[in-house]
């Protein structure tokens, strides 16, 4: 078996909460609390969950834009967790990112060609001419006309801007692309185009995606494996087909039953969960989901369920799924 393109082990991020003049640390927000997964080359792992569950933090830690408080990040089987900026540079180009906001993630003062060419400038010693040719080819790859290189980002539509973001991520021919809600800011029709572009590129270059989303429809379209996060932890991780056909964790069930169906006459059992996500600063004891779980029993309130591997390979963290 080949090494995973990207693997994280027991990744943790605890943000200190500081108070007073001396910045005393009074508590920690456990934004991410022990997340592990592996993505094989050419595969897409989708991280889903409510806002604030830590999925974006995981994505940024994978790129080391945020330093993890614990755990390990492995790229091509090599641990890059503690590497200094200089030692990290060769790995930087193996993992790139597509951002959520296609407006704010492109420098408004730079032309599209320079934005897409910036990673090349950083890593390759190309002459201006060669670099522009490379950029032109990248433009074609993402379905933009190369003569748009001289235009500024604000002259493009939202979908085109996201294509620019994808072209920038592709420039260094990375093995992994982390996409943090790359389509949630786009119109539905444009969403589909961008998703299809991402899938075409995956096929062409054998890319692995870490795809963060809250939209189950999007996830069902693009994902191979789905990881469901709740309050900084993965509660269920399984191949797409099984998780949508037969969700095990009550939270997964609720999420999937809440996703709208295209058929208005279709009936299905809705599991409606009550209340809000508890504060990650003061998570409930035991299973973090027990405060909202319709099936919770006494054991859930005291004992934290471990993420256990089932015989069919899926992993679930729930006492009720034995």
């Amino acid at each position: 078996m080949t090494a995973p393109a990207l693997e994280v082990r027991e990744l943790k991020k605890h943000f200190p909460v500081q108070k007073g003049l001396l910045k005393r640390t009074v508590a920690h927000v456990k934004a991410v609390d022990g997340v592990s997964f592996a993505i094989r080359p050419g595969e897409t792992l989708c991280l889903v969950g409510e806002s604030g569950c830590g999925k974006s933090t995981v994505a940024k830690m994978a790129l080391r834009l945020i330093e993890p408080s614990g755990g390990a990040i492995l790229l091509d089987g090599k641990d890059v967790t503690g590497l200094e900026a200089k030692a990290m540079r060769p790995y930087r180009r193996r993992i790139q990112m597509v951002f959520q906001d296609p407006y704010a993630s492109l420098n408004p003062r730079m032309t599209a060609g320079r934005i897409v060419g910036e990673p090349l400038e950083n890593f390759e010693d190309y002459s201006t001419k060669v670099r522009e040719e490379r950029v032109a080819r990248l433009f074609e790859k993402v379905g933009l006309r190369p003569d748009a290189m001289r235009r500024y980002a604000f002259e493009f539509s939202g979908g085109q801007r996201q294509r620019l973001g994808i072209a920038r991520a592709l420039a260094l021919e990375p093995a992994v692309i982390v996409a943090d809600e790359p389509v949630s800011a786009l119109d539905v029709s444009v969403q589909a185009q961008v998703l299809n572009l991402l899938m075409d590129l995956q096929e062409e270059f054998g890319l692995s995606y870490l795809f963060v989303s809250h939209d189950l429809g999007v996830v069902e379209h693009i994902g191979h494996t789905i990881a469901v996060m709740y309050l900084g932890k993965i509660v269920e991780i399984a191949p797409k087909e099984t998780i949508f056909a037969d969700p095990q964790h009550p939270y997964t069930k609720a999420l999937i039953s809440a996703a709208p169906l295209p058929d208005p006459r279709a009936k299905r059992e809705r599991i409606v969960i009550q209340g809000d996500v508890p504060s990650p600063m003061n998570p409930p004891p035991g299973c973090a989901f027990h405060t909202r779980c319709p099936f919770a029993v006494d054991r859930c309130k005291v004992e934290t369920p471990a993420l256990l591997t089932k015989p069919d390979g899926r992993q679930v963290a729930c006492h009720l799924v034995a």
Partner: protein, 295 residues
């Protein structure tokens, strides 16, 4: 369906840059910029061209002392019989030199410190407390101290006024940097391997330019005023140099019999500060309505 009345786009014909039509439209939309810039250009031209048409600002003719404005002496003469017109024009040289130098020095120094303090959070606390300390020193007091320690010269005055202005620039730049460093496009640059120096220069620095241009005009205006105050107090430029502050100080005893001796340098000072402030206000509204208020 009723026809929507076509509203012609205002001034649809795009006037060529710099053409008379373009200039006219620009001045109608930005009267303060044009007025301020026009006054400054005239004053600067007069100051620089003074040697060619104004008399000698230093030659004394006691026989012609305290003469009112006339065809020979446009602004009259002072108590030593010196030509006030010439002295006022030469005074403008000093004022402009001090104003522009202080603005340039404080912007350059403040920009560098501000970029570092804003980007590197570890140095921020120390640097900003230092800046707070500097800000507490009054420019006039510092100038008096520096002049007492060294020899009075225009350069010392420039240094003395620059030092307390630097923290204002640092605060402005730092606030811009703090806002921009979290922007997704900066994060994107980090992710694509851009080195820190390049991130600061390419992605962060350009955002500080507009507010700094505006800030520099305010610094320039206040530097001109402080220089005059220092000259007036005798703590600035040496008294033999014709500056507006020196002129007002030396003429204050003759305010009653010869008001023109104070009137002309005073008016010149008011006009130039007004012009710089007009320009600054106009630029602020045009370049950056949010950020560039005096901090």
């Amino acid at each position: 369906m009723s026809a929507i009345p076509e509203r012609p786009l205002a001034a649809a014909a795009p006037a060529a840059l710099g053409s008379p039509a373009h200039l006219l439209r620009f001045s109608r939309r930005n009267p303060t910029i044009v007025a301020g810039a026009a006054i400054l250009i005239v004053v600067t031209a007069l100051a620089l061209l003074a040697p060619f048409f104004a008399g000698d600002p230093l030659s004394m003719t006691p026989a012609l002392r305290l003469r009112p404005p006339s065809a020979e002496f446009w602004f009259g003469t002072d108590h030593l019989g010196r030509d006030l017109f010439a002295r006022t024009l030469y005074g403008a040289q000093i004022s402009l030199l001090v104003g522009i130098s202080v603005a340039a020095f404080s912007i350059v120094v403040g920009l560098i410190i501000g970029l570092l303090a804003g980007y590197y959070r570890s140095v921020d606390g120390v640097v900003m407390r230092l800046m707070d300390g500097l800000m507490a020193i009054p420019a006039i007091l510092l100038a008096i101290a520096l002049v007492a320690l060294t020899k009075a010269s225009v350069f010392v005055v420039i240094v003395a006024i620059t030092i307390p202005e630097v923290p204002r620039v640092v605060r402005l730049v730092r606030s811009v940097v703090l806002g921009v460093r979290e922007a997704p496009y900066v994060e994107a640059a980090v992710a694509s391997g851009t080195r820190t120096f390049k991130i600061i220069i390419r992605h962060i620095l350009p955002n500080t330019i507009a507010p700094l241009i505006v800030q520099s005009t305010y610094i320039c205006a206040s530097a001109i005023l402080i220089e005059s105050a220092l000259s007036f107090l005798g703590a600035g430029t040496p008294p033999d140099v014709p500056t507006w502050g020196n002129m007002i100080a030396q003429s204050r005893l003759y305010l009653g019999p010869a008001p023109w001796t104070i009137f002309f340098p005073g008016i010149a000072l008011a006009v130039i500060v007004l012009a710089v402030n007009l320009l600054g206000d106009g630029l602020r509204d045009r370049l950056d309505p949010r950020l560039a208020r005096r901090m």
